[in-house]
Symmetry: C3
């Protein structure tokens, strides 16, 4: 499929600058542009690429002011990142289709029903009593435990494992290697060793949640571990037993949430952040990458560091630490000057 | 099944306070209590929930002194957490049963024998020469390499992979996505690139070990990587080649142990802790979350930080760092006062 | 198979010291030596083991000077670590052979051809249009998406998942649980929730790459995520969408690279290191474990810390932080002395 700059501008409500008849058939990063591709410029760090890119069309902000001539045709829009998302979405819907039907061999336990628009890939296992919604796509090598409920329109990529009794909402996406409902990490000390505390709760994942590859969400000891509506978890994240993640919170890769901690709604959590157990994070909290969060955090805070402090304090601390050598020098100088003053008396 | 407060108190040696005839049929977290559920209060952070919880019965410490009236029936015990563990265990044994028998299709190599009480889930693969103990439960989609030994009573949840030649003890639990025996990360620099050092050792996991979802234990270069008896590893942990983890050590999620490091017995390791390679950690060491441990640690130490120092020092350091702005101010003031003194002379 | 010290010395160009006729049939770590085993001494930390080890032969450096008598036969070589690697490689080639042929049940989509020297393990799935090179070994329970290309001689251990359209080079090794090509973590804020940005790019992995267990390499939004020739990634690593990792860079376990970051060639990255997104790391950069890298790094730098600074500065900072208590004491003393001076005037 080919689209001209004029056609694309029409679709996205943009204005063309340059040759409106030039056509593209694919996307490219601006720094890897090539003829026939459309790119976008949203992050100012990449501005210098626009003057040399070989892409035929570039989506730019309406306010963008080039400092040099640009070969590509520009399409000016309000928000280039949102616009490219919109275009990717259109193309994705045209070109990407999940399969349908039940591939063999697969394992379907007693009492399981699959609607004809569902997909069950080969080597997938659906245990007895699981309830699979309409248009659910279960790729090969997935495991759906007994009594699991999966809502309409959800997609499980190859190798997802969902332990018994857990619930996945509608229109969720679980990537390869995700484990939902493994036992929480609970042990009681007993005579110098540890006795396992059975984890009899489960996991409930609300609608519109996406969970990245190899991320783990453990089942609760009792009751449930909850992932709120619209939450987006990146790869290799740990959500421990009894946790709750509030609606529309996003968490970057390798973050870890210890047991029973409640993270509010609309939070943004950086990569490799760690949360202590049994704490409460308010709504709209933003946490810088690699931070360690040892205690409760009020709504709306922006924090960073190990242990985490307000972001402004963190940056001041970093500068202060950098300047410690100079501070030591000053104190030594003060000491020697004071010595001199005392000796002169 | 329903149990009355009197019945439960009899089972666990507790004393009833309130209506002894009230019955429960399930567990609930105290903050999510509902009629018909039993909850417990062990962590003082949760004390305020006891006055409003809807649960019918609460397990509390014998010494607990309520500050307000409580609706629920109380059962007083020595250790509420241990008691709830005991009750969960009773219920778990009554209600949860692993399946038996060999599901089809599965793959059983030559020379493999399975006792009738074993379970081999569909799509699991047992390579030739593997030795599977009595009452072993291998859920679907597991891989058991050639010559692997699995001790009596162990459970492998869906999708566990055990490479050739590794040994798993008795009564172990391996959760989904665990990888035992992948090649250690060993390369020798050679002409600007890296030559792979074959990893010809294996992994030995002793009895009563539990390993969390997606955790990796690499095979040794030579000899073996050892996980001691009773060790509990949480999810997404890395144990590199040639490591040894001592008996009854517990390690929280996303911790990582670099190659050849030996961690002692009865240690407690926080989440996201990292250990350098080729170091030795003594017995009974406690390490705070996200710490980086660059060198040997003597037995019984409690350490924290990056790099890790004794926990008391870490907290003092954190306070000192917080106060650096104030210290800078003081030094500036001393400088200006000294200037004044010098100029006044 | 048994080899004498004289035979081994001949193979590796070493000189024998002690009984040249003593034979060995296996390898052992020096601290776990036993008769009939060969060990090596490369890391000076392990020198004290050489006087007591039960191993029959020890590979040591030509310059090694024992301080006490040694029971074992020594073979002196230029580089004991490289020599043991060479010996392990020889043994590995003699003893370890990947299987051949197609096991049943497996799933092979339309248009897929496998050469007779390939292995496709049971329960593996190869989607339509995938191109599998010569002598490729795909262990059980792998998923190869539509149109995936796998170069000659590559090995995929059990449970590897490769999403559609991704490319794996020649002689690559992917360990169990690796996920290549899951969707990058891309969302556009929209009315208080997040709209998914389809990830239409792919992943390209060059030749001679090894990827550790449960590591994730996400597909690009557009274009591709690139892993350069000879790169070695350890377990549980995250490589986000649109990243590039340069040739012969090695990265230890649990490191994470955020989106669009480019890491140069010949870098050495410690465990649990985190990289911010959209930054550029030069060639030959060395980064200490657990560092957080927030911005561009020039080639050849050696950095460490959170946030990362030149390694020398990091160690100075750590000492300065340790000494903060003393610095506080000094400043308090200066203050009181100055008070005294002022009062004496």
């Amino acid at each position: 499929m080919e689209f001209s700059a004029n056609q694309i501008a029409g679709l996205v409500g943009g204005s063309v600058e340059g040759d409106g008849n030039v056509t593209v058939s694919t996307f490219a990063k601006i720094e890897e542009g090539h003829p026939g591709a459309i790119s976008f410029l949203a992050n100012p760090k990449y501005t210098h690429y626009i003057y040399d890119t070989q892409s035929s069309i570039i989506l730019v902000n309406r306010t963008f002011e080039p400092e040099k001539p640009i070969n590509a045709t520009l399409i000016r829009v309000d928000d280039p990142y949102a616009t490219v998302a919109q275009l990717l979405d259109m193309v994705s819907k045209l070109t990407q289709q999940h399969p349908c039907g039940v591939e063999q061999p697969s394992y379907i336990g007693s009492g399981v029903e699959l609607s004809p628009d569902c997909y069950l890939g080969a080597f997938s296992y659906v245990a007895p009593g699981a309830k699979i919604g309409k248009n659910v796509k279960i790729y090969p090598q997935c495991y759906i435990g007994a009594g699991v409920v999966i809502g309409d329109g959800s997609v499980l990529y190859p190798g997802v494992k969902v332990y018994y009794g857990c619930k996945i909402g509608k229109n969720c996406i679980l990537h390869s290697g995700v484990v939902v409902g493994a036992d929480g990490f609970g042990f009681a000390p007993k005579d110098g060793s540890y006795a396992k505390i059975p984890q009899l709760g489960h996991v409930e994942i609300a609608d519109d949640v996406e969970i990245g590859a190899n991320t783990c969400v453990d089942r609760a000891t009792m009751g449930c571990t909850r992932i709120g509506r619209g939450v987006k978890l990146d790869n290799l994240i740990q959500v421990a037993h009894n946790c709750e993640i509030g609606e529309h919170t996003v968490m970057a890769s390798q973050a870890g949430v210890a047991g029973s901690t409640k993270v509010g709604a609309h939070c943004m959590v950086g990569g490799q952040v760690g949360f202590a157990g049994h704490i409460h994070i308010g709504d709209g909290v933003q946490i810088g990458a690699q931070s360690g969060v040892p205690h409760n955090v009020a709504s709306g805070q922006r924090i960073m560091g190990y242990p985490a402090v307000p972001a402004g304090d963190f940056f001041r601390q970093s500068v202060n630490i950098k300047n410690l050598g100079e501070l030591n020098r000053k104190v030594r100088q003060l000491e020697s000057e004071l010595e001199r003053i005392k000796s002169e008396k």
